[in-house]
Amino acid sequence: MTHGLTEAQFLEMAASFLGPFYIALAAMNGLAAFYLWRTNQMKTWFKLPIPFVGKSVNVTNALVWLAVGIVFAILAAVAGSGLASWASLPESWREAINKGTGPVIYSVGTSVGLVVLYFCRGFFVRPAVAWSIWNLMWLFLGLSMTDRDFYEIVAKPDNVPIVMLVFLLAFFTWLATSRAVENDKRIENGEPPLEKLDNEKVLVWPDLVYIELICMIALTAFLIFWAIALPAPLEEAASSVKTPNPSKAPWYFLGLQEMLVYYDPWMAGVVLPSLIVAGLMAIPYIDFNKKGNGYYTIKERRFSYAVFQFGFLEMWVTLIVLGTLLRGPNWNFFGPYEHWDAHKVEALNNVNLAEYFWERGLGMSLPATPELLWLSDLLRPFGQFFSILFGRELPGTLLVLGYFVALPPILAVFVMPGFYKRMGFLRFMVLANLMLFMASLPIKMVLRWVFNLKYLISIPEFFFNF
């Protein structure tokens, strides 16, 4: 996209985007300040003494956001007047970010981030805090757009939706959480949730019909604007000999493609997606908690909330972001400001559990596959498969069987007896197995990072690797 452009030409291109971008952000903060002022929601954060006069000004939230708006306006001017390179992150920071990131830091970092957000939600939903984070997210995007490698990947037309998804999810997660926090407080005080206050009935014409109409017009306008601003991608005509590197599925499936790093295609592409769909469908039937129906709450349904958020935000969305924005040629990891170099080599020396066990542990060679010539042709594959499974691959087989067969009863008796009692055998087993499958991905990730473990069970003779 930026191929063949000199640095100056590239910056000019970036500036044509950044000018309007920063102006919009300035307007956003200006409107916020205006709104706080008009609705009398101004709060004095601190008093700033004016030197020599002996008086002091009340620095209110509205004033602060106004100042932030002015900063964005200045950035717009800087970016718009050909000085876009000033409005960027320092080279040393970018280097540090590139060096410091990798699949491990990324995955662990986002997980820890979510946990912190969850436990400190009371703090993060406060409007001033949330608004600051919101501004910082946009600022980070803007400052990064002057980096060629970052621009190249984020502004790729088919990647733009992911950027939108990230911002929309941030917004809606804030909205839902702030209501849930408020509702939880109300419920603790014996008050009904906010939603109960709007219990009166209104006529659908005009109240709903007009909302729908306005939404439709606004959406149409937005789509037309998007369509004019960003041409749909059309690359060269298809060729079966020129394989692009990296070859990527459409962005919404890149979480699955990312799983291919840890799982074979039969798991990442077939079994796990089927289980995701089945698991989603099972949610209403395994969540026996009657509370929290029809209003936002967290405290009344901590368990289902935490499981779903982990599954959706961490295992689905952040994996997609990783797969789309940070995986380059040969599916190597590239930092956000790193050039996608097709020649980057990453040493892959992953080891199967059986090799660890027989070769490194016991110092012998892997047991050979039995021929089983005495079995009929029809039965021989079965015989061979199971003799490998319980022979060469025994350590992994025991671990996996233990995980899926022995863990659920242990959970039922020792960890979640309350759940088991209320759910009954079948429902509890479904819940336990779905959760164990979900947890198997992070577990495999950690095993890979820590032990370079490739497969727990590896039977390539039968395409069966787990």
Binding site: D158, P161, M164, F172, A176, R179, P193, E195, L197, D198, N199, E200, K201, V202, L203, V204, W205, P206, D207, L208, I211, E212, M216, L219, L223, I224, W226, A227, A232, P233, L234, E235, E236, A237, A238, S240, K242, S247, K248, P250, Y252, F253, L256, W266, G269, V270, V277, M281, I283, P284, D287, K290, N293, G294, Y296, R301, P381, I459, F462, F463
Partner: protein
């Protein structure tokens, strides 16, 4: 003298189309909801909370609207597009460079991406408000089918421009089907299905072949995906949407605290 508007509204044609007077007073605002085909999807009155943007985020409605946009722009695009290896790419090129309505393609493509996002957000909000709990369990299940079909719609459409992006994305995506247990020719257990020593599951009979209609993404695949994209999946979505909306009302309207 009656005004022009009044003349129109009093005419036999107008009255034959709209079976009710203008919804200006309370009575007629109720009548309009009951007698208009498009409006009768809605109830007559609704709890304020059910239309609060901060509650539903309007995401189900937005998804539905995007589906309609995709239908209309999609039909128009079909006028300009031939699903053959010979023409597909050039037809899209023409849409970009020649036809004045080429912007339809942009709207259609960005609308499709947006629909994937909004359907996720809709599911997100339904989960966060616990709206899948009784009596709405089954509507959630229908929703999951809709989610799946939305992704498949987007996936099948991705192939149609027949450029490098399209063909390789579908190749990567459908390669997974090769590894389907038992039914894929590189899947675990495929050796188990043999007949007199001959493999039954080969690259010309496995799950991937069924998806692509061939061993590689090619002419047959384009035809298959075109029909799925333009006819089969949209019909399935339309049917499920009808049930989805019907169930929203039968289950007691938008969820809310008891």
């Amino acid at each position: 003298m009656p005004g022009l508007g009044e003349i129109i509204r009093e005419s036999q044609i107008w009255k034959s189309i709209f079976r009710h007077p203008m919804p200006l007073d309370r009575r007629n605002r109720i009548v309009v909801m009951l007698t208009n085909f498009f409006l009768h999807l809605h109830p007559v009155s609704i709890k304020k909370q059910g239309i609060a943007l901060s509650y539903t985020w309007c995401m189900g409605g937005v998804t539905f609207f995007l589906f309609l946009v995709e239908t209309v722009t999609g039909v128009l695009l079909m006028f300009y597009y031939r699903p053959t290896v010979e023409w597909a790419y050039t037809d899209i090129q023409m849409l970009r460079d020649v036809h004045s309505l080429g912007i339809l393609r942009e709207i259609h493509r960005w609308g499709a991406h947006a629909m994937v996002i909004t359907v996720w957000l809709h599911m997100y909000r339904v989960f966060l408000t616990g709206s899948y709990k009784p009596p709405r369990e089954f509507n959630w299940v229908i929703g999951v089918f809709l989610l799946l079909l939305t992704l498949l719609l987007s996936f099948t459409g991705y192939l149609l421009p027949w450029d490098q992006l399209a063909v390789w994305a579908i190749t990567v995506g459908s390669n997974m089907a090769r590894a389907t247990p038992i039914l894929g020719h590189e899947g675990p257990g495929q050796q188990l299905l043999t007949l007199g020593g001959v493999d039954m599951i080969t690259n010309a009979s496995d799950a991937r072949f069924a998806l692509l209609g061939a061993r590689e993404v090619g002419e047959e695949t384009l035809n298959r995906f075109y029909i799925l994209h333009c006819i089969a999946i949209p019909l399935a979505v339309a049917l499920l949407l009808a049930i989805h909306f019907w169930r929203v009302r039968k289950d007691g309207g938008i969820s809310g605290p008891l």
